[in-house]
């Protein structure tokens, strides 16, 4: 069932000395303050950190949704800061998949249409074999012609996952994909993400604040105050929780 196994050592996405500053002078906020991190291919990476640590900003900048103030963001070997809006859009369409916290689907399109949307926008034909496999993996074969409003929240997120992987992108970014789900549906979605990495060799980067969710990843990186503070291989919910607690303590001790 292993479709393709990318070279394990290559980074699917990375940022180098990433700095993101919002506002000017007095109101200046350094959301990212010199972060350098690789997101290796065929790995499931979780980004964690307290509120305001810059984890969402890191993901947005790495995925070409936002631009860095300084430093570089790469998808494969492509430097994002050199791209105009159109090229960025095409890059997102062709090489990146997205799963957002909520509102992932267009209400006017059916499940099947939602899944193939990025390819339809590109005017490209999806690989039918891959698509069939994907539909079976997310388990939505009997729902293909339904509208999103006829699905449960968990089902909607699974459609979003299918949409994100449909074009076989270099990397899939997931922003709190389970934030709006009950724990059982959330578990399903996380398992799904995990399977695509381990069984199909895809690359996933997930932002979350939930240690249980982070435990599904191969590696967790911790951010605080816009800086990379730690990395943890093969995390468990408990180890992640402990690390987060110590980060909170450090936060509290700050002047």
């Amino acid at each position: 069932m292993n479709i393709s196994a990318p070279v394990l050592t290559a980074a699917a996405a990375r940022v180098i000395d990433a700095v993101k500053v919002y506002g000017v002078d007095d109101t200046e906020v350094r959301a990212l303050d010199g972060v350098s991190v690789d997101f290796p291919a065929a790995r499931f990476t979780a980004i964690m950190g307290p509120s305001g640590s810059g984890k969402s900003t890191l993901m947005h900048c790495a995925a070409g949704l936002d631009s860095l103030t300084s430093g570089g963001a790469y998808i494969g070997d492509t430097e994002l800061s050199g791209l105009d809006d159109r090229r960025l859009t095409l890059l997102r369409r062709d090489r990146i998949g997205f799963v957002f916290q909520a509102f992932n689907l267009l209400p006017t399109l059916t499940v099947a249409e939602n899944i193939t949307l990025p390819m339809d926008l590109a005017g490209a034909r999806p690989d039918p074999e891959w698509l069939e496999t994907l539909i079976d993996v997310v388990g939505l074969r009997d729902r293909l012609h339904h509208r999103p409003s006829e699905l449960s929240g968990g089902q909607q997120q699974r459609v979003a996952v299918a949409r994100a992987f449909a074009g076989q992108p270099d990397v899939v970014f997931a922003d709190e994909p389970t934030g709006n789900l009950d724990s059982r549906s959330g578990e399903e979605v996380l398992n799904l993400l995990g399977r695509t990495v381990r069984e199909m060799g895809r690359t996933v980067v997930m932002v979350t604040h939930d240690p249980v969710a982070a435990a599904h990843a191969d590696e967790v990186i911790f951010l605080a105050d816009g800086r990379l503070v730690d990395r943890m291989q093969n995390p468990t919910a408990d180890s992640v929780l402990d690390r987060m607690k110590s980060l909170d303590v450090q936060e509290a001790r700050k002047p």
Binding site: T89, L90, T108, L109, L117
Partner: protein, 851 residues
């Protein structure tokens, strides 16, 4: 803080926050009100300008002596009066209390410019008369030069001099209709202006006027009298009465002024203003849909906000009040701006009309209170009434809705709507067709038309879904498909948006079809009844053609190429009590150049007491060959005429034909209106036309038209009318366009997150813009298609219903309707422009993050 002020405060902050949402409403009200106010102001301005003009023309005249009897024919309101003796002036001048008396010898005189082309003649009258020596009795005053003294000298008004590039010392020709060579010795002005509106006036010596303008010497249209010092107008009239011959009356200058004013203001202007008001009404109706739609969407988008207010303890009335306060605020500001805009429109139109050749006098803007208050109130009522229904719906918002996911109104067509719509449509169409086909009855058809229109509005949401699917079927690419899905999302909203455009397009198509059918009918009638090869026609319509010399027809007949040439003139008589136009010609020769259809009886030997009558008129009044009719002429003589023939085709011949001999004793100014010419066998159209033109040159160079040109010219006036109608209806289309743009802007706002998602997963800006524009285009296409269908149907009904004779043609002009369709689609494309750009500028991150 009181409850009311809380509600007011919320409204105010909401208005400030959502300025853009109300921009469409603002402009819809503004345009409608502007148009209404503009129409009223312009109506008053024109009325006052005409009044001033007539007042000026007759200000020095204290009394007018003229024939008491005026014969008016249908379609002509001034009436025709028998001339009085010019010598009466001298007799009147000797009466006590009379300071001066001058005959007014008037006729038609078409002046030729320095390039040999007629000056005017396309509407405003072209007049000639004796130059009245008494400056107070003369409506014109000398601006330069001197009064005409000897034969061939003339004074022309400054407007004519400017247009025709003529100056003192120039020689030219005035067609009376016999061409008279004149030398210009003076330039006149009219109360300081270039002339009486666009009317041209050539002043001749009294001797020339007597000789050329009236058939008999010593004839004058009237005698103008000025009172001596201390004599009132009424005293003057009383003094005149005893000396006047039978059938001649004296009226005060005041009455003459009022008569003229009544004729222009009362009839022409009222009709003109009424027409403009109808268009203002259409514009406001279209605006109503746009405004209602805007408020409906705003209320729908605000469901959560309103629910929160309700949950926090706002009463239903406060929620309703909040929306109404917004409506009133927008209405007040927009209506006030509209009134100001209306004054601007009136000023603009005042400048535009003379430029396109409408004979309106100039004058300062007349702004009455009513012209300001009425449009303001109408704007207020339209806006507030349109917002009422959405406001009440806002009041019904359940507090629980705050907790639910926002459901943007997505209701499809209800069952009731289907039933009501279907019943209305069936009844409307049935009534319209019945009224048009049998009877015909304009009343029934109009009722049916209104019902049909209502059915279209009610059925809109039902039709929208089908129509958008059908129209959107060719859109297979993802962008087009998304646009189609968006348009289908709320059929109600799509329909309401499209309805505004539909009404605009329907009215335009209706006028187009109606005008085209009339043109075809006129064209067919003329080409059916004209059996000749070319026609010589005096130019001009509206104020009446200027006439051709009666010598032209015999001169043309002399040509070797010509088989026969027949002149047709016009006369007037009261026949069995009602005024009618007569065709004066040689009836026996009519069949040579005219096709009269079936003729019952004989056209030969009508003599001085015989008349030929058209079949339509004979049927109406019960004439048969052999029956008699009493003719009363302007000179008061009554004669009994015998109907000798009844003919079918009245296209050129008119309803009554008499011989020249019969008309001669009663004629006013001897002229033909058209000369019909038939060539000998073997003469080509080009050769024959050239030969005829050669002769016509000596008779003031009237236009020589081929069969087709002649037929087309019959309906030429319609084109100008249609252009005006189109210009006015462009406003309705503009308002509809604003409505579409507004709905789309609101929809874009509402779909911020969706658009953000689309952009995130790879929709380019160009694709996003195209998507919004396609949606706009689909909505416009729906409105345009509905409007074209409705307009064509109602046009057909109107043509049939107004055609009691059943001889009218129905014609759907493909070119014009295609243009209308393209304009509708273009409106859609334009309407989508700004919303599309706004949508494309959206920041992807912000869109995703929007709560």
């Amino acid at each position: 803080m009181s409850a009311t002020s809380a509600s007011l405060r919320i409204s105010a902050s909401s208005l400030r926050a959502h300025k853009r949402r109300f921009a469409g409403t603002f402009f819809a009200v503004l345009l409608g009100v502007s148009f209404l106010a503009g129409t009223l102001v312009m109506g008053d301005t024109l009325r006052s300008a005409f009044d001033t003009m007539f007042g000026r023309a007759t200000s020095g005249t204290d009394a007018v002596v003229r024939s008491a009897d005026a014969i008016t024919t249908p379609g002509e309101s001034f009436g025709t009066r028998e001339p009085v003796s010019a010598a009466l002036a001298e007799k009147v001048a000797g009466i006590d209390g009379v300071a001066a008396a001058q005959p007014d010898i008037q006729g038609r005189g078409l002046l030729l410019g320095s390039d040999g082309k007629p000056i005017g003649g396309q509407g405003p009258p072209t007049l000639a008369g004796n130059w009245i020596a008494d400056p107070q009795l003369n409506a014109y005053q000398l601006a330069e030069g001197r009064a005409p003294k000897s034969h061939g000298e003339a004074v022309i008004n400054r407007g004519a001099a400017k247009t025709g590039d003529l100056k003192i010392g120039d020689s030219t020709v005035v067609r009376t209709p016999d061409p008279l060579k004149i030398k210009i010795v003076g330039i006149s002005e009219f109360g300081g202006e270039d002339g009486m509106g666009q009317t041209t006036f050539t002043g001749l010596t009294r001797a020339d006027a007597s000789k050329y303008l009236v058939p008999k010497a010593d004839e004058a249209a009237s005698i103008q009298v000025r009172a001596g010092p201390g004599v009132s107008q009424q005293e003057l009239v009383d003094a005149l009465k005893p000396v006047l011959p039978k059938g001649v009356e004296a009226v005060t200058g005041q009455e003459i002024t009022e008569e003229s004013q009544e004729q222009i203001s009362g009839q022409f202007l009222s009709m003109f203003t009424m027409m403009l008001l109808v268009f203002a009404g259409i514009a406001l109706l279209v605006a109503t849909f746009s405004i209602h739609n805007t408020f409906a969407i705003v209320v729908a988008q605000r469901t959560r906000e309103n629910a929160l207010l309700r949950a926090l303890g706002a009463t239903r009335r406060q929620v309703v009040g909040q929306t109404m306060v917004e409506a009133v605020a927008v209405a007040v500001v927009a209506s006030a701006a509209g009134v100001v805009g209306g004054i601007g429109i009136a000023a603009g139109l005042g400048a535009l009309f003379p430029a396109v050749g409408f004979p309106f006098p100039e004058g300062d803007l007349v702004i009455k209170w009513l012209s300001l208050v009425l449009p303001f109130v109408v704007g207020l009522v339209v806006c507030v009434a349109s917002a009422l229904h959405p406001a009440v719906r806002a009041g019904r918002t359940a507090p629980l809705a705050a907790l639910r996911e926002t459901a943007v109104e997505s209701a499809g067509a209800s069952r009731t709507r289907m039933i009501v719509g279907t019943v209305l449509a069936l009844a409307g169409v049935a009534l319209t067709v019945y009224g048009a086909a049998s009877g015909p009855s304009v009343m029934l058809t109009s009722t049916g038309a209104v019902a049909t229109l209502a059915a279209f509005v009610v059925m809109g949401p039902v039709a929208a879904a089908y129509a958008i699917r059908t129209l959107g079927a060719p859109l297979r690419r993802v962008t087009g498909r998304l646009a189609k899905q968006n348009a289908l999302r709320s059929p109600k909203r799509t329909a309401a948006t499209a309805t505004a455009l539909m009404i605009g397009v329907a009215v335009v198509s209706l006028f187009t079809v109606f005008a085209s059918s009339l043109q075809t009918t006129m064209n067919q009638t003329v080409s059916r009844s004209f059996a000749g090869d070319v026609a010589i026609q005096a130019s001009g319509f509206g104020a009446g053609p200027n006439g051709l010399s009666p010598k032209l027809a015999p001169a043309v007949a002399e040509l070797p190429e010509v088989d026969s040439a027949l002149g047709l003139g016009k006369g007037v008589a009261r026949i069995d009590g009602s005024g009618r136009e007569l065709t004066v010609t040689d009836p026996a020769r009519m069949p040579d150049v005219l096709d009269l259809g079936t003729v019952e009886g004989s056209l030969d030997g009508l003599g001085t007491t015989g008349v030929a009558v058209s079949e339509g008129e004979a049927d109406k009044r019960g004439y048969r060959p052999g029956s008699t009719a009493e003719f009363t002429f302007t000179d008061g003589t009554k004669e009994r005429f015998t109907v000798r023939a009844v003919y079918a085709e009245d296209g050129i011949a008119g309803d009554y034909v008499v011989t020249r001999a019969a008309w001669q004793p009663h004629q006013l100014q001897d002229s033909d209106t058209v000369v019909a010419v038939g060539f000998k066998d073997g003469v080509s159209e080009a050769d024959g036309k050239a030969a005829v033109e050669g002769v016509a040159k000596d008779y003031g160079n009237p236009e020589v038209q081929t069969r087709d040109e002649y037929a087309d010219s019959a309906a030429a006036g319609m084109d100008i009318m249609l252009t005006l109608v189109y210009a006015l209806l462009a406003l309705a289309i503009l308002i509809a366009l604003l409505g579409i743009a507004n709905t789309l802007t609101l929809a874009v706002h509402e779909r911020t997150r969706e658009l953000g998602l689309l952009r995130a997963v790879g929709q380019t800006r160009a694709q996003l813009r195209a998507m919004v524009r396609w949606e706009s285009l689909l909505v416009a296409a729906f409105g345009t298609a509905g409007g074209l269908g409705l307009g064509a149907f109602l046009g057909w009904a109107l043509v049939k219903a107004s055609d009691s004779a059943g001889t009218g043609a129905f014609s759907v002009p493909p070119v014009q309707l295609t243009v209308v369709a393209l304009v509708g689609l273009l409106a859609g494309a334009l309407a989508g422009w700004r919303p599309a750009r706004r949508a494309a500028r959206l920041d992807v991150l912000r869109a995703i993050a929007t709560e």
